[in-house]
């Protein structure tokens, strides 16, 4: 009989997670510098979590998940960060699972869910296209019905870790009715080993390969791989965003950056410089107050409420704060700001440039901050068009 983790006290839950991480996460995987390790690099942790039944926190128990409500899930995510667990390829757990559990057929669930938990299927997500970034509705990758299959042609981009994945779920255009641009889109599950799928990794500013282009050239996909209704993919895809949107606004990244700034400042004696202290204080209070703001939204979830559009404010603030902290770190670095490699600080190192460059991304991905401001203007401030 599985534990009802929601009924366990928060402290006990935290301790259980901490023990589990001690047990199944090797030290070299904790507090990794790499933002996006590949599946192989973290497989031992992935399997360890799976064996303990802790891999899929929000999935229902009958599907092998922990069935956590938002309150415990928040703690789960917090502890993961606090314990320094590496990021695992999580599109299967975080997106495909919930998608299938809500919209999938029994066959889809029976086939895919166990294979996600076992790590046999590693998923990636194909939403963006070269000409459909902020404007997702204008996507053009097309799926045309041909007997018992769809034939897919087109291109996806910014597909995270596609070069390490073997399955992809894609948004494809199945109808050309241009009047309602967000209609006519369908969610399709594609085995990447199918003929006609090609992946091209793209290096980022940090010199790492987090994302790829994925090309579809007459790829045949069985019709039973449609999730939900045909032409209703927009609604299907949006339905799984849910409360996880709050994590886009979590203070995790600025906290990491702040730890680095403080480390460098201590090494340089900068805390004795009142001018630095003044700038530091501003950033420190921004981070502190971001924590208060995050807590307000998290509490709504914990108390069973739903997130409003206003949660986007956290995403804007945390991503811009992340940038500002890394910029101050480079300013503090003096001539060491020329280094691409980490900066030595006594016996330790500070990855100032790594974080500065990484901080360029979150303000763009997951809906650029300009798009977020547009949404807030309409949905929260109700400003006229």
């Amino acid at each position: 009989m599985a534990t009802d983790w929601n009924a366990v006290s928060d402290d006990d839950f935290r301790q259980a997670f901490a023990r589990l991480v001690e047990d199944c996460c090797p030290p070299e995987l904790r507090f990794m510098r790499k933002q996006r390790p590949t599946f192989d690099e973290v497989a031992v942790f992935y399997h360890g979590l799976a064996e303990a039944g802790w891999l899929a926190p929000t999935w229902p128990v009958e599907h092998g998940g922990m069935g956590l409500g938002p309150a415990k899930h928040m703690i789960y995510v917090e502890e993961w960060g606090r314990l320094g667990g590496p990021r695992i390829p999580d599109h299967g757990i975080g997106l495909v699972g919930p998608l299938l559990i809500e919209h999938g057929t029994e066959e889809q669930k029976a086939f895919h869910l166990p294979r996600i938990l076992s790590g046999e299927h590693v998923w990636c997500q194909g939403y963006s296209e070269p000409n459909a970034g902020s404007d997702l509705a204008s996507l053009r990758t097309a799926a045309v019905r041909d007997g018992d299959a769809f034939v897919v042609n087109g291109q996806k981009i910014w597909t995270t870790l596609a070069h390490c994945a073997n399955w992809i779920f894609v948004l494809v255009r199945t109808s050309r009715d241009e009047k309602v641009r967000q209609k006519g889109i369908t969610v399709l599950l594609v085995d990447m080993r199918s003929p006609g799928v090609r992946v091209r990794p793209i290096a980022n500013l940090r010199g790492e390969t987090d994302f790829c282009e994925v090309f579809f050239d007459d790829v045949r996909v069985p019709a039973e791989n449609v999730v939900g209704e045909i032409d209703q993919g927009w609604t299907v895809a949006k339905s799984v965003l849910g409360h996880e949107r709050i994590f886009l606004g979590a203070p995790t990244r600025p906290e990491i950056a702040m730890e680095r700034l403080e480390k460098l400042a201590r090494a340089r004696g900068a805390f004795d410089d009142p001018a630095f202290l003044s700038r530091y204080a501003k950033l420190r209070l921004d981070l502190y107050d971001l924590g208060s703001a995050f807590e307000r939204h998290a509490r709504i979830l914990r108390e069973g409420g739903e997130l409003g559009a206003d949660v986007s404010m956290l995403k804007i603030f945390t991503t811009e704060l992340y940038q500002r902290i890394t910029e101050e770190t480079l300013a503090l670095a003096g001539e060491d700001a020329r280094l691409f490699d980490d900066i030595a600080t006594g016996n330790d190192r500070v990855d100032a440039m790594n974080l500065f460059l990484d901080a360029r991304a979150p303000a763009i991905f997951g809906g650029s901050n300009e798009i977020q401001r547009n949404i807030l203007a309409k949905a929260v401030l109700r400003l006229p068009s």
């Binding site: 003044s278 204080a281 420190r284 209070l285 703001a293 401001r373 203007a377």
Partner: protein
């Protein structure tokens, strides 16, 4: 839109908000401010009386002393509402500060008299303890006070002054009746339409019974009073920020240029979103500080209050600045209320530490640990 969020089990908070709205209907804040400024006065005695009657001047004062004995949560909600309504009588600097002092003071007749007069509005007790120094020399049957203190609110209309004097044993608070020999007052105009006094004491004699708070407990009590006042100021500033934002949304939504409301232009929309976001952050900071203050008076509460006052002050001033700008030429006129919000925000932001000072206090306290 931005506001404080608290559990309001028995409806006290809702009642407080309603009562401010009711009073503001009879005494609109902007009109009171203009009238006070026009009259060259430092307060609106009638408005203050109505506020006392509503129970606001004794909200945090213990019931034993004639107050309501409520806590930071109720005070924050009241102060937020006062900020929104632009009711400028100094509730934070007077009622909250004095109530905290009196609550912690040892039993004494003079303290009880002042507390009771504060709660029922019969006395105006002006505070003179900052921006200057007063020496208190023990003499035969009491104390002789000499010195000067600037930026004293309600100094012109005061019936009594609570003056901090430096005794041999440290600072202490003395009750000094207005009009006694040796007291002098210079007045300057404050930006939010009142008068600020510089109180000069030239050998004022105070009887021994006038020692309301002795040097043995003055310092920690003052620290507690400053924290409570800062928290109330933060809530009031957040209220000002929220109302200035709302007024700007209303204005830009109705102001037509180039055939469209100016709030339909993306540059204006993004500016408004940033203002809103700043206000949200201010409310989150105040919310957090209230909760920390309710949880205890330790270091966590001290940090949270410093953060809240800094954040709310910065947010209120900068939101009001942008608000004035977005009101266009109209915002530069005295007849448009938005300028009054800006001026009030500046004044409260400058009280008990501007943001930079508070932020440095925060990091110094945090790093001292």
């Amino acid at each position: 839109m931005p506001q404080l969020h608290f559990d309001d089990g028995d409806g006290t908070l809702e009642m407080l908000r309603d009562s401010v709205a009711a009073l503001a209907a009879h005494h609109p804040g902007a009109a009171s401010l203009r009238a006070r400024r026009e009259a060259g006065a430092d307060m609106d005695r009638e408005l203050w009386g109505a506020m006392a009657e509503a129970g606001w001047t004794g909200l945090m004062l213990s019931e034993a002393l004639g107050g309501s004995g409520l806590g930071p949560r109720e005070q924050a909600v009241l102060s937020e509402a006062l900020g929104r309504a632009l009711i400028c009588e100094p509730v934070a600097g007077s009622a909250v500060f004095l109530s905290t002092l009196f609550n912690g003071a040892p039993d004494n007749a003079e303290g009880a008299r002042l507390a009771s007069g504060l709660a029922d509005g019969s006395l105006i007790v002006a505070r003179a303890w900052r921006n200057g120094t007063v020496q208190a020399r023990a003499d035969g049957d009491g104390f002789t006070l000499s010195g000067a203190v600037a930026h004293v609110d309600q100094a012109q209309g005061a019936t009594d002054f609570l003056v901090m004097g430096q005794c041999e044993g440290g600072p202490a608070f003395f009750s000094v009746p207005a009009g006694i020999s040796g007291l002098g007052l210079d007045l300057q105009r404050s930006v939010d339409g009142a008068l600020l006094g510089t109180l000069r004491l030239d050998g004022c004699h105070v009887p021994a019974t006038g020692l309301v708070i002795g040097p043995d407990i003055c310092a920690p009590l003052l620290e507690r009073a400053v924290a409570a006042t800062r928290l109330a100021l933060a809530a009031e500033l957040a209220g000002i920020a929220a109302q200035a934002l709302q007024a700007t949304i209303d204005y830009t939504t109705t102001r037509i240029q180039f055939g469209k409301p100016i709030a339909s232009f993306q540059a204006i929309q993004h500016r408004l979103v940033d203002m809103w976001s700043d206000a949200e952050l201010a409310f989150a900071a105040v919310n957090n500080a209230v909760e920390e203050a309710e949880a205890g008076e330790g270091r966590a509460a001290a940090l949270a209050i410093l953060a809240a006052k800094a954040r709310a002050g910065d947010a209120a001033v900068s939101i009001c600045r942008r608000a004035v700008h977005l009101h266009g030429a109209m915002g530069f006129t005295d007849e448009c209320d938005i300028g009054l919000f800006l001026k009030r925000a500046i004044s409260l932001n400058a009280m008990l530490g501007q943001p930079e000072e508070l932020r440095l206090a925060f990091v110094n306290l945090e790093r001292a640990a």
